[in-house]
Subunit: 309 residues, 2 copies
């Protein structure tokens, strides 16, 4: 099932308590498309890079069979660069440098060959640009959107318009509280689902994720990590695994959304094992299947026994 991925393609400089890398491939569209490429094809990417983008990084996308027709190469400037440092607990980070470069003028143009995607993944970019993507595609079956506090605070009106056109919203708990104005997550979810997205995923970091659909609430566990090496891109990787599984299975039932949340969680648990997207280039199908099984075992509640009420 074809997936269209729109978002940033970037270089990141990352410092964690465990190491440092000056410049590594990053960006939401990168993590989403690389991850989803394990699940389904074709994978269509739309983004922009600058004159400094390395051939070997283009090759990394090619190696994963990601269609780059929609990747604009803007020779007038450099690629979006972000530099950050994670604190000891890895839940907080300081942004040390942000150079938007060619991303500042990013205008997503959807090539003709991309115009009939079954699933659209809108990575975290300005809500007005996310709407512009939707204007250019023909009746996708499922639109999945990521956003962040920056847009909730600074572009709420645009965001509300976009949300109304979206099937699945994936945000974290603080974003859900801010977007809804509700501290209680169950109430927050009710309020957000009235804004448009009938399916809502609230990510809670080390505490797993909640999936809200018409029929139920699903509480997904987090994988108990001893060593989180680098959290960069974990949220985008979650989206990639979620969308990838839905594209692979073609099943948009509530039960299958639960599976998709677990595949997203499984892929995110791989992502954090190495710097940037590095772990996402050498995965095997068996590793992915095994991690899915581990998640099931982690949260399996036995049936009641003979002494039950």
């Amino acid at each position: 099932m074809s997936i269209l991925v729109v978002g940033s393609v970037a270089y990141d400089g990352i410092e964690t308590p465990f190491g440092k890398v000056d410049r590594i491939l990053g960006g939401s569209a990168t993590f989403i498309s690389i991850t989803a490429s394990y699940f389904t094809q074709p994978m269509h990417l739309v983004g922009v890079v600058g004159n400094d983008f390395a051939d070997e990084d283009l090759q990394r996308f090619n190696d994963r069979n990601i269609d780059l027709e929609g990747l604009q190469i803007d020779k007038s400037g450099k690629t979006f660069f972000w530099q950050g440092r994670y604190h000891y607990d890895l839940n907080n980070r300081d942004t040390l440098d942000t150079q938007l470069n060619v991303f500042e003028r990013f205008d997503p143009i959807i090539p003709n060959s991309y115009k009939n995607p079954r699933i659209v993944c809108l990575g975290n970019i300005a809500p007005a640009l996310q709407s512009k993507v939707l204007d250019q595609v023909n009746d996708p079956e499922l639109v999945i959107l990521d956003t962040m506090n920056f847009w909730i605070e600074g572009a709420r009106e645009d965001l509300m318009k976009t949300l109304n056109r979206v099937d699945v919203l994936i945000i974290n708990d603080s974003e859900a509280r801010e977007l809804s104005g509700e501290p209680n997550l169950v109430r927050a979810a009710d309020a957000i689902r009235k804004m448009g997205p009938k399916t809502l995923i609230i990510k809670k970091g080390e505490h797993g994720a909640l999936l809200f659909t018409n029929s139920s609430i699903f509480s997904a566990p987090a994988y108990p990590m001893v060593d989180i090496f680098d959290p960069t891109g974990a949220g985008d990787t979650f989206l990639g695994g979620f969308a990838g599984w839905l594209g692979r299975s073609g099943d948009f039932s509530d039960d299958n959304f639960r599976r998709a949340v677990i595949y997203g969680s499984a892929m995110a648990s791989f992502c954090v094992e190495k710097f940037g997207p590095n772990r996402l280039f050498d995965l095997t199908p068996t590793e992915i299947a095994d991690r899915y099984t581990e998640f099931r075992a982690l949260s399996a509640i036995p049936l009641q026994s003979e002494n039950s009420f």
Copy 2:
């Protein structure tokens, strides 16, 4: 299966964003024994109350078939009194008043008829007193202990001695980090299990709980609550449900510990629906069974489907 419960019996003054009560039955031994009484009998309570303890509160224990032979009535003073106010998010509270009263001189004496308990529940009291309880009983099959930051900081040496005699420790995430000196909960659990308790439960409030045993890690979901009326006693109620189920089933396997965590969570989710222990006096077996089923549904991950890896 007989259960011995040792802890505080108190009066609480509670203010939440939803209401206020000047004086209501409380204390760890109260919540634990009342909750466990739904699961198994006999239930033996050891604690102390003062000259102000009301007959109707004694009757509430009697109505739940809780044996009060070990409840000391110290006429020389008043019952332990705690007063607190919860913040809007209910995760934090201010203690407004603490009057230890007769609890300050509490010396747990185990009546002869209590000396062969199958399960011992040591509520949150001084670790030296918890050890003193263990000195007086004959080979219980399972010892379950609760503690708190106050003892981790102020009575670490005593606590370490007690921990070495315990099978199951139930604490929250910040206490686990403080006790072990490890920010990562998986590492913290490893360190704590080396201190004695082979089974460790780390409660994470609105994020559920983690169960660490020799064979596995279990991630238990939290019940998505729209209305938490009063969190007082929820942790003790968890312990009561956990111990109660183990006493009812007589099965100390890792799989059954998982069930016990869910029964504990289910009972805690009832506790918070009304002030103090009030909700714990009018439960039905069907309500308990239904909530167990709801927890299973909440975290059920479907098997992989035909499109799986």
